[in-house]
């Protein structure tokens, strides 16, 4: 039954001038981000998985079902996928309600799932409107709802936020995070925005110029200094955390991750609930001695696993949390001078000072 839990794809071919040679295998759980610069072939891979584009030299098996191999090609309308396009692409001749129900099985209009989906996406008030009269953010939420209600076994999202302005993005991201937390549906999420990927991704597939650079769990790929992502200014890691306590006086929650505890200001949360912490490498500084009298709340002992130059003046340090370095990994981006002054090297015990943690439901 292990085959039932993986997404295994390989596509090879040319599209005009563009050559694609992409193969990867990731677990069919959580959100897998397909990340890379514009024009690197992410969307083409997604279209191949949906059956909207066909390379004769292709293989696609999702959760044990083979959708494409040498012998056959399952047409798009027979694949149990939901597809959210970059532009919402709602049917302009149908109301929001009929858009939502277009791909839904019969009788879904009165079902509990319908109510849950429109609740989750906050679109209950839009049902009888025409898509023409919706804002960009509302349209994209309806498009997500429409894809979900078609009961997909795999949700494909092609830069669903890239056509939206910053404010609308921030309005929709929480919906996607809630979706992630409340559904067991595997998702492949195409993006060239690392901030989105950090907030959402469990697995990461890095693409460049039609090829796969790396694939694996988000932290393994994003925290690997041998790969380009860890050396970028936006590099970050995500940690799974459990709420351990809440200090109502200061609005601070204690969150436990593998290898340490964080205190994070946030609205009241019940103990035991799960959160996802995203920590940018640029928000982590290092000290040899435990600092005192500082405004930084989160100072955790850690051990340096590696220090890699990033550009001419900076160094990216990979840390393992915990006094013996047995916990989660963390990235820190520091100047090369600090690195030399403190004599930081593999195995050095340090105190990681974390200023700024982004939270998401998990």
């Amino acid at each position: 039954m292990t085959a039932a839990k993986i997404i295994d794809v390989a596509f090879r071919g040319t599209l005009g001038q563009f050559a694609l040679d992409a193969a990867f295998t990731v677990p069919a759980t959580g959100i897998t981000a397909l990340f890379g610069p514009s024009g690197c072939g992410k969307t083409t891979v997604l279209r191949c998985i949906a059956g909207l584009h066909r390379f004769d030299d292709g293989f696609c098996a999702i959760g044990g079902d083979i959708w494409q191999d040498r012998g056959g090609f399952l047409p798009a309308h027979k694949r149990p996928v939901g597809y959210v396009f970059q532009e919402a692409s709602l049917f302009p001749h149908l109301s929001v309600r009929r858009n939502l129900l277009f791909g839904a099985p019969r009788g879904a209009a009165t079902g509990r799932e319908f109510d849950e989906a429109i609740d989750l996406l906050g679109i209950a008030g839009l049902l009888d409107r025409s898509p023409r009269n919706l804002s960009g953010g509302e349209r994209q939420r309806v498009a997500v709802g429409r894809a979900l209600l078609s009961k997909p076994e795999l949700l494909l999202m092609d830069e669903p936020l890239s056509a939206l302005d910053r404010q609308t993005k921030d309005e929709i991201l929480p919906f996607l995070e809630r979706l992630h937390a409340s559904l067991s549906l595997p998702v492949i999420y195409v993006s060239h925005d690392i901030a989105e990927v950090e907030r959402l991704a469990d697995n990461l597939v890095l693409m460049q110029a039609g090829r796969i650079v790396a694939s694996g769990s988000f932290n393994d790929v994003s925290g690997n200094p041998a790969l380009p992502l860890a050396l970028t200014k936006e590099a970050a890691v995500s940690l799974d955390a459990v709420v351990k306590g809440y200090d109502a006086k200061y609005g601070l929650a204690t969150l436990e991750v593998d290898g340490g505890r964080f205190m994070v200001p946030m609205p009241p949360a019940t103990a035991g609930s799960r959160r996802r912490l995203t920590i940018a490498a640029s928000n982590v500084s290092l000290a040899r001695e435990p600092p005192h009298a500082t405004t930084i709340l989160n100072i955790l002992p850690a051990v340096i696993l590696s220090a890699t130059p990033a550009g001419e003046y900076e160094t990216v340090v990979v840390l393992a949390l915990g006094p013996d370095g047995a916990g989660s990994r963390l990235l820190a981006r520091i100047t090369r001078r600090s690195c030399d002054d403190l004599g930081l090297a593999q195995g050095t015990r340090v105190h990681a000072q974390i200023k700024g943690v982004a939270l998401a439901p998990a």
Binding site: A50, G51, L52, P75, A76, H77, K78, R79, P80, V81, G82, Y83, F85, E87, S89, F91, P92, H93, F102, G103, R132, R146, A147, S150, L156
Partner: protein
């Protein structure tokens, strides 16, 4: 109309002809337009050119070939023989065949343009929502191409009403069977019945005006919907 039973017959015949031809055209032109819009075949533009031929050919040339095809020695004569007739020329059926061919480009073109304007996206969306190609065609492509269909219907109907050369070649002027409005006007002028001719001519002007106005309104609506 009681004063002019002749005219009433011609008007009725014209409307019957135009309605029949338009109905058949919708059935024939829609798949052709769809194929021209979606196919990647290299020779599809050759097919499009054949469909568009009546735009350029003199009606008499079309009429001549149709006369040969529909006459006693052509396939039309053979088909007429199935029910004991001798020829399809100079019959209402023959006129319908001629009208369908003559008006074809006026129906195919707007429908094809509307299908072209859809692009691939709505059909891809439909496919990812588990709609078979047939269902996607009826529930997405056709409703979204509605303005093209309206334009096609109006133009097909109007062109059939206005055709003259072909009718004269293959229909003659048999009252109640092939004597449509345009031919009736011609006959009235030939026999110096100017009064009747002027009434029909004025009626055609009003009709043409209404058609063109309707077309412009449809286009305006489409432009607004596309915002």
């Amino acid at each position: 109309m009681g004063l002019f039973p002749e005219i009433a017959v011609a008007v009725r015949l014209t409307i019957e002809l135009a309605a029949t031809a338009t109905a058949i055209l919708l059935i024939v032109a829609t798949p052709i337009a769809w194929w021209l819009s979606r196919s990647r075949a290299r020779w599809k533009e050759a097919v499009a050119a054949v469909v568009a031929l009546p735009l350029v050919l003199p009606p008499t040339v079309l009429g001549f070939y149709l006369l040969v095809l529909l006459g006693p020695n052509g396939p039309g004569g053979f088909i007429a023989g199935l029910w004991g007739g001798r020829t399809l020329a100079f019959t209402f059926g023959g006129l319908v065949v001629g009208s369908v061919i003559y008006s074809m480009p006026f129906v195919v073109q707007p429908i094809r343009n509307a299908f072209d304007a859809l692009g691939d996206r709505p059909l891809e969306v439909a496919a990812t929502l588990r709609a078979s190609p047939t269902r996607a065609f009826w529930t997405v492509a056709v409703p979204l191409a509605r303005p093209g269909f309206l334009t096609g219907i109006v133009l097909g109907f109007a062109h059939t009403v206005g055709e003259f050369g072909i009718v004269l070649m293959i229909g003659g002027s048999i009252p109640g069977s092939t004597k449509v409005l345009s031919v009736a006007i011609y006959d009235y002028v030939e026999t110096s019945r100017w009064y009747e001719a002027s009434i029909l001519a004025a009626g055609m002007v009003v009709f043409a005006f209404a058609v063109i106005l309707a077309m412009m309104l449809i286009e305006k609506r489409v432009a607004r919907a596309g915002e």
